[in-house]
Amino acid sequence: MSKPSFVYVTYIRATADKVWSALTSPEMTAKTWFGVRHDTDWTKGASWRLVFPDGRVADSGEILEIDKPRRLVLKWRNEFKPELKAEGWSRCTIEIEPASGDAVKLTVTHQLDGEGDKLIKAVSGGWPRILSNVKSLLETGDTVMKD
């Protein structure tokens, strides 16, 4: 059996730099990612946390690979839901590639290291909302889901 995983692809009419920024900068994640911000210095091996507006830590881990604006690999563990945290580490890979038209291809792959279905189920619900927001914000100037 392959490891539990979720893959989502979307095409966005924007530059790779803009897509990278929409997923990483605090000004943009405030809109696209329902208010969370990344707490990291964006270097390979650095610690990484995703922090809610009220300061609680949503997820934590480490920057495993970073090649701005093409590829980001995060070691990722949920911190705010015990049943998700219990499933342990996962790996989230974000890839941004030129597509052979007027868009870039954004691929998010989230794979659990061990066994379990709760974290992958949770991120399967979350990523389409976040990535739909990224696309809408960059193409139209406004997000599609506010909360």
Binding site: Y8, V9, T10, Y11, I12, R13, A99, S100, G101, D102, A103, P128, R129, S132, N133, K135, S136, E139, T140, D142, V144, M145, K146, D147
Partner: protein, 170 residues
């Protein structure tokens, strides 16, 4: 009425996207040719809008690329049809799949869920074409409805899918 037994189909590929539009607009975009020509690889949808009616996606030259039967026609919440690739050699003989679009209100927006389900133990390689195609098609649909302009994405040839088909025929 339809003779299709949907319980025989198992979901294999699911794609969810959120679109700033009304359910009615999304339903029209999925079922009217003036929209599909813009975002669905130039294909024009042609539907008999009733359960048991015919479903087709026509190439610009009028040839039938996809054909099937309407399994559920429930505007603006759900549209389902069987789906056979008639326009690619070798695919016509494969068991039809079932494509279902579910349209739900989500805040001020719409959650569109596309589910591709199969009635046989289809090899992963044959699923690769859809898994590559749906994100491009539905991303383009979202762009069209939100900004008025579809994307122009040139897809690579479905080499993995064609290889899987060749392996199946051996």
């Amino acid at each position: 009425m339809t003779m299709i037994d949907v319980t025989r189909f198992t979901p294999k590929t699911v794609y969810v996207t959120y679109i700033a539009a009304t359910p009615e607009k999304v339903f029209r975009a999925l079922t009217e040719a003036e929209f599909t020509r813009a975002y669905f690889s130039g294909l024009a949808v042609k539907i008999e809008p009733k359960t048991g009616g015919t479903f087709q996606l026509l190439a610009p030259d009028g040839s039938v690329h996809i054909e099937g039967e309407v399994v559920e026609w429930s505007p603006p919440r759900r549209f389902a049809c069987t789906w056979t690739v008639a326009g690619m050699p070798g695919f016509r003989d494969l068991p039809a799949c079932l494509v279902t679009y579910d349209i739900e209100q989500a805040g001020d927006a719409v959650r569109l869920t596309m589910t591709e389900a199969h009635q046989w133990d289809i090899p992963d390689g044959l699923l690769s074409g859809g898994r590559a195609g749906w994100p491009a098609i539905l991303s383009s649909l979202k762009s069209l409805l939100e900004g008025g302009k579809a994307l122009t994405i040139k897809m690579e040839a479905p080499t993995e899918m064609l290889a899987a088909l060749a392996a199946l025929k051996r």
